[in-house]
Amino acid sequence: MNTTILLFLLQDGITNGAIYALLGLALVLVFAVTRVILIPQGEFVTYGALSYAMLATGQVPGTVQLAVGMGLVAFALDLFFARKALRARLVARSAALNIAFPVGLLAVTYKVAGPTTPMAVNIALALLIVAAIGLFLYRIAFQPIAHTSVLVLLIAAVGCHLALQGLGLVFFGAEGLRGPALSSAAVTAGPLRFTGQSLAVYGLTIAFIVGLWLFFGYTKTGKALRATAVNRLGARLVGIRTSLSGQIAFLLASMIGAISGILIVPITTLYYDTGFLIGLKGFIAAIIGGLVSYPLTAIAAILVGIVEAFSSFYASNFKEVIVFTLILPVLVLRSLAAPAVEEEKD
């Protein structure tokens, strides 16, 4: 192997790794706040990417209708759970968030969608659509069972993944899509060529890592979100609105997922079910980071990306096998290092 190939593989690995890092961060974020292991994270990626790609061709993606549908269900749930104490303010707030927001989004999308819509508008629309879906997903699927065990939440997450992936096929079809690049700029350094796209990937990843780290470590809201994770009841007793915390976490996670998707869809063709595998690799990074540490997750994600790049060069057939088996020794070390606390499970 010569240096050029080595550098090339490293670059490839780091670019993919940065995406995994973003997803890993979102997973850590959601787990830390809601204890949900967010299997549908991959769907946020594909929804973001393919909604953006469809908008770029002037079509209206089905995701926006899904957002409206989920908003209606979320509104109905809000009314149902508040039926004993329906107040006008509460209903108005719920209607604004769950009905006016997605319906407005739908109207705007239909109005502006066209082959000549500026790229920035398409990106914004794709992001907002996925953000709405993420928000409503928490409200519908997880908020009613927020107090249950990690296991029940995990199985529910798997259910959401199945449903969303199936819907993905309905919205985007079985054919893969590719979106237009964000920028055609490129920098050449030695034998390597850095496209504007990959630079954007690096920049955004670093920005998110630093941002989340600061947010959770140093702001009051961030600390409130973490308190929710440790003890829901305790957090409520000191005045933290735990359901709001969960919604914020899902909102952030879905937007991060959508951004990752928009970043990679110009680089590789995405299919409706690609997200699952991409999400799982973010997952491996998140688990190596112990589902708690942001910097560790980012480093692990880069490692996963590099291992993947090298194994696809040397043993392309066994790329996935290698990447997924990588997790086992890590899990064992994690379990051994974890304090022997007694778990009371039901």
Binding site: I155, V158, L162, L280, E320, T325, A338, K345
Partner: protein, 589 residues
């Protein structure tokens, strides 16, 4: 016999179905698929529902079973019957290797780990040359008896359902045994089970292997049913579906697996055939509905359909009362070598910078009731955990009858004749009082998993249950013997814990706040029982906050404050000790 009757009726109904005129052949195919899924789900019931180990990777073990027979029959021309043990063996060995890694994982790492190796194995199946890569292996011979080849779905139907019924029977036998109780205790954490000698890692590995072998059996049948094997049915999606089946049916119930398999397979079939008519040709709609149903189910009925159904049926399983005349041999005892039973010398436990137990020394003599008291956070429960091996001491020496414990695990400490109860009750709430107490006698039985499945353990089992029943009678809970432990009041649950500890036939009984939650009369009865035990030759070390109870009962009292021993003496001396008064009431101004 009454418990067997429904099983026999079910077996007869299943046997007759193919002969009923007018049953479409397609129904038989569905029933075949239900049986295959039920086998895998039954393993998951034991693994996840009973043992608390969630696995998303069971489909991979089906793959091991199916590919083993596929390779051996097509490439080497072996008879399918010869490959059955091979298939089970390969699944079992794979389970041992994966299990050694997996069962060590704690909490949510475990299900995540199973997802990871489930996907890894799927890719391995689809990339290996000798497994035919993505195309798989076709041309697998059918099962045959003599010259009769089981080619049609209704021929293999019997093979599948006989396998299901036998597996169900063996699984139920296993659950209703010494090993089964150990497995059922796993879900509630390992501390309590280990305190009575259960080797929890081994029990976990056992259920893991058992579940894998059932999945391997299903895979073997599947390969000869489809006469082909390819990677798709052994992927992550299938693994998720098996877990779904177990949850729908009611994880934790053997028949829930069969019911769940029925519901899911039929539902999937209906969705696949009717949804396209309603929504016009869109594929994969069934996964959408599936996912939504799964989320709905978890919100509405997290325990599954089977328990819901059973609670509506008037049947109540009749339980045999154990024959208390059977006597277990007394535990082999070293005999009193000295009057000092428990000797603690400068025991120390640090958690990071906090010293929970600070060089505490005291003794418990034979035939003595010693109370360990002190304000909250004084280190009393930590001392208990050091003695019983739940925690390892940072430094110091603890010996029982002159034998140094030296950081032995709880399973070894209990063998020395030290048994305990817990401050926070650790019973299995969905097991009866009798079954819970019988866990205490775990080390006094010897039957393993295989003899339990084949019902060769009955003599051993009767002895254990008799001992449990006798101890329950001794603590005065005979009326509650068949109730679920979770349905008792907290005070009664503490008494059940004492009965469980007595089943060990201990020399030293450690009781952590036994009187908390008891009424006055119950406390008096408890005190009388403890005195009677002492007079019978047992020693008791107890932590208790009820000073009236302690002063009245204890021969000697040890007082801890902030991890340090501040006083030791008779109740009368302790009552007037100025340091003790200061610790409890604060310094006089």
């Amino acid at each position: 016999m009454t418990q067997r009757l429904p099983l026999i009726i079910f077996a007869l109904v299943m046997a007759v179905i193919p002969f009923v005129p007018g049953v479409p052949p397609f129904w038989i195919v569905l029933l075949d698929n239900i049986g295959l899924a039920a086998l895998v789900a039954m393993g998951l019931v034991l693994l996840t529902g009973v043992g608390g180990l969630t696995s998303f990777g069971q489909a991979a073990f089906c793959g091991f079973g199916a590919y083993t027979t596929a390779v051996l029959t097509t490439a080497y021309g072996l008879s399918p019957w010869l490959t059955l043990p091979a298939s089970l063996l390969v699944s079992g060995i794979a389970a041992v290797l994966l299990g050694l890694v997996t069962v060590r994982l704690s909490g949510h790492y475990l299900p995540l780990g199973t997802i990871a190796w489930g996907i890894g194995l799927f890719y391995l199946f689809s990339k290996l040359e000798f497994l035919g890569r993505n195309d798989g292996i076709s041309g697998i011979p059918p099962l045959s008896i003599g010259s009769y080849k089981m080619l049609s779905p209704d021929a293999i139907y019997y093979a599948i359902w006989i396998a299901v019924l036998i597996s169900a029977l063996l699984t139920m036998n296993l659950l209703d045994s010494r090993t089964g109780r150990a497995i059922r205790a796993l879900r509630r954490g390992h501390v309590a089970a280990e305190a009575f000698g259960v080797q929890t890692p081994r029990a976990k590995l056992l259920v893991f292997i058992y579940a894998a072998v059932l999945a391997g059996l299903s895979g073997w049948l599947y390969a000869h049913f489809q006469r082909a094997a390819n990677p798709t049915p052994f992927g992550a999606q299938a693994g998720i579906e098996y877990l779904f089946i177990a949850v729908v049916g009611g994880a934790g119930y053997v028949w829930g697996a069969v019911l769940g398999a029925g519901i899911v397979v039929i539902l999937k079939e209906v969705l696949q055939s009717y949804l396209p008519y309603i929504f016009g040709g869109q594929s994969q709609l069934e996964t959408i509905v599936f996912g939504i149903l799964l989320v709905l189910l978890l919100q509405l009925a997290p325990t599954g359909v089977w328990p819901w159904l059973m609670s509506r049926l008037p049947l109540k399983p009749g339980r045999k009362t154990p024959d208390t005349s059977l006597k277990l041999p007394a535990r082999a005892q070293a005999g009193p070598t000295s009057s000092v039973l428990l000797h603690i010398e400068k025991a120390r436990k640090q958690f990071g910078g906090v010293t929970a137990v600070n060089d505490v020394s005291f003794d418990v003599n034979a035939r003595e009731i010693v109370a360990l008291i002190g304000p909250n956070g004084a280190g009393k429960s930590t001392t208990f955990n050091l003695i019983t091996g739940v925690l390892t001491a940072t430094s110091g020496k603890i010996s029982v009858q002159g034998k140094e414990v030296e950081n032995a695990p709880p399973q070894e400490v209990v063998k020395l004749g030290v048994s305990r109860t817990f401050q926070h009750v650790k019973l299995v709430p969905d097991m009866t009082v009798l079954e819970n107490v019988a866990i205490g006698a775990h080390l006094r039985g010897s039957s393993g998993a295989v003899s339990s499945m084949l019902r060769l353990d009955r003599a051993d089992e009767a002895g254990l249950l008799a001992e449990a029943a006798r101890q329950i009678e001794r603590v005065g809970l005979s009326d509650q013997i068949d109730q679920l432990a979770g349905s008792l009041s907290l005070g009664q649950q503490r008494i059940v814990e004492i009965a469980r500890a007595l089943c060990v036939d201990p020399m030293l009984l450690l009781l952590d706040e036994p009187a908390a939650g008891l009424r006055h009369m119950e406390k008096q009865r408890l005190a009388a029982l403890l005195r009677q035990l002492r007079d019978g030759g047992m020693s008791v070390l107890l932590v208790e906050h009820d000073m009236g109870f302690v002063m009245d009962l204890a021969d000697r009292i040890v007082v801890l404050d902030f991890g340090t021993k501040i006083a030791e003496g008779t109740p009368a001396a302790i009552k007037t000790n100025p340091d003790v008064i200061k610790a409890y009431l604060g310094a006089a101004a």
